[in-house]
């Protein structure tokens, strides 16, 4: 165990961890394009946000409104986390034992912070869903929720500004993949979210 930990530490030295993007539920819901960087089996998968940024990992905060235990042999948990703009669908299965145990202990409704990986699925009827595979979930307070709304609004507005410049590779990709994307919609979304925070 100690050897394993030390090896990991050594790797961490040169290892670039994928950052956790800040995104509101209403924007994540609009994702339609997922891609892989590199051909390797272990290359990270990215969901392209409509505002023009790749995300392999996201950090979200909201209210866990319900959770469900599912599966017979392979138990997994599903949950809904609500932010001021909409709902995130989260899940934790046997491949995320730590996250599953954390989620099993939490009783809704409660504010939670979730770190996880977004995945884009297409249902048989053609509709898309984005679900977040939980890496970790903790119960947090209202102040952290408010800080997240400020942080996420700021980063969403930053992305909208970069989108207007139109030069970044992910922005070019987003313009291709989301031809009808209207930055004003997401600007209003950020404003509405901020307006829900107590003054």
């Amino acid at each position: 165990m100690s050897n394993g930990t030390r090896d990991m530490d050594r790797r961490e030295g040169g290892f670039e961890r994928e950052p956790a993007r800040r995104v509101f539920a209403a924007e994540l819901r609009e994702c339609r394009y997922q891609f892989k960087e590199g051909d390797d089996e272990k290359s990270p998968t990215f969901v392209l946000l409509p505002t023009g940024e790749r995300s392999n990992r996201i950090f979200l905060v909201g209210t866990l409104t319900e959770k469900q235990r599912q599966g017979e042999q392979n138990i997994f948990y599903r949950g809904r986390v609500v932010d001021p703009t909409g709902t995130f669908y989260i899940m934790a299965g046997s491949y995320q034992p730590e996250a599953m145990q954390q989620l099993a202990k939490i009783e809704p409704p409660v504010f939670v912070a979730v770190i996880g990986k977004p995945n884009l699925y297409q249902k048989p009827d053609g509709a898309y869903t984005v679900s977040v595979r939980v890496e970790s979930i903790t119960v947090i307070d209202r102040e952290t929720r408010d800080l997240w709304i400020l942080d996420t609004a700021a980063q969403t507005l930053d992305r909208i500004d970069a989108f207007a410049m139109g030069t970044a590779p992910d922005v070019v990709k987003a313009r291709e993949q989301y031809p009808t994307m209207d930055p004003a919609v997401f600007r209003k979304m950020a404003y509405d979210a901020l307006a829900q925070v107590r003054m």
Partner: protein, 412 residues
Amino acid sequence: MDYSETADRISRKFSQKGESVDRQKIAGKLRRLVDEFGVPPSEAERSVTNELAKEFNLPSMGTGGGSGAKEQRKIAGVAPGEWVSVEGKVVALSAPASPAIAQSGVLADDSGAIRFVVWTKSNAPKMESGSWYRIESAVVDEYKGVPSLKVHSGTTVKELETTEPLIPVPVPIRDLRPGIGSVRAKVIQEWDTTHDHMLQSGLLGDETGTIKFVIWKEPGKEMLTTGAVYSIFYAQVDEFNGRLSLNLNSATVMQEEGDIGTMSGGETTIRGAVVHIAPGSGIIKRCPVPGCNRALSRQNYCPIHEIQPNFVYDLRIKGWLDNGEKAFNILLRRDVVESLTGITLDAAKEIAENNPLGMDEVFLRMREMVLGRYLVCRGREIDNRLLVNTCERLAFSSGEHAALLNRAGGAP
């Protein structure tokens, strides 16, 4: 090919010196070198001549290598691929890494220093640390970007009657290059060792920069003291992944009086959310052997000092702080952990000792308190890791809230 002509030429040379050689044998050696090993004939001739010269103890017979081999050179001026002759002092000897190597160490003159390797096959006289030698017709090659002087069978080594003192000039850390370097620097930090054979690792700094240092375990090697200033002569400067580090095993290390400034302004502030708490956080046990302080395994096992039942408890948090653009590996020390979580070391000990989950309970409680929270961490960024000096929870700012509302609602 016919080797008799070359063999005759070699044999004539030696008969002039009063030695008789077997022409057949020489021809056989030449054939072997050229036919079997693809050595160019001129090089084969040189090699066989040198071998015989050594056998008859006639160093002046060696034909030397390419041009310039006889010419005296300064160590700082030699380059990989050259045949050179240098005079220098053996300032360090290290344990040979393989039976093929008779000696290895560092040779220095007033211009600089270079690593050297004496092949066992060279039959060169044994060199003593602290003595001066003239090394003729050695080859400079390069390994991982570091030049090294190779003493082979064609090289002659002569001890010199010099007792000239040699004072190395320390260079600023910023100017170090792979090879051998001398610095005057302060131990800024000591790190956990990452290898069983490592005695100590950490960070050295002067006014111009910082560099990682490593001391491998060897008899007589001592650990450096954090905060102390040292003159370090003839350390190996290694390069890995574009980053330099100092191996002090070959070096002469002397502690200095007084203090020196180290590069300031290295303090970084990062604001972000804690997105991961790594195993090995919480309450940990450390090795009590003076100067060791390594984290012990669950079985109280220190990688160096084995089972240590009289361990010392400590607190730390390792994890990732993420600002949405980049994730930073963070390390919080005991005092930072105590002020952030409100759990003192004594309280953590009590939790660990009175709980069925033991030390894991402290890890879990701290994770519940810190994971997913916004923090402002200040510290020094080294090797992609932020060593946190102070850390606090980010506070909600109404001013920021108002500014964001304006920004979101302001433009059409």
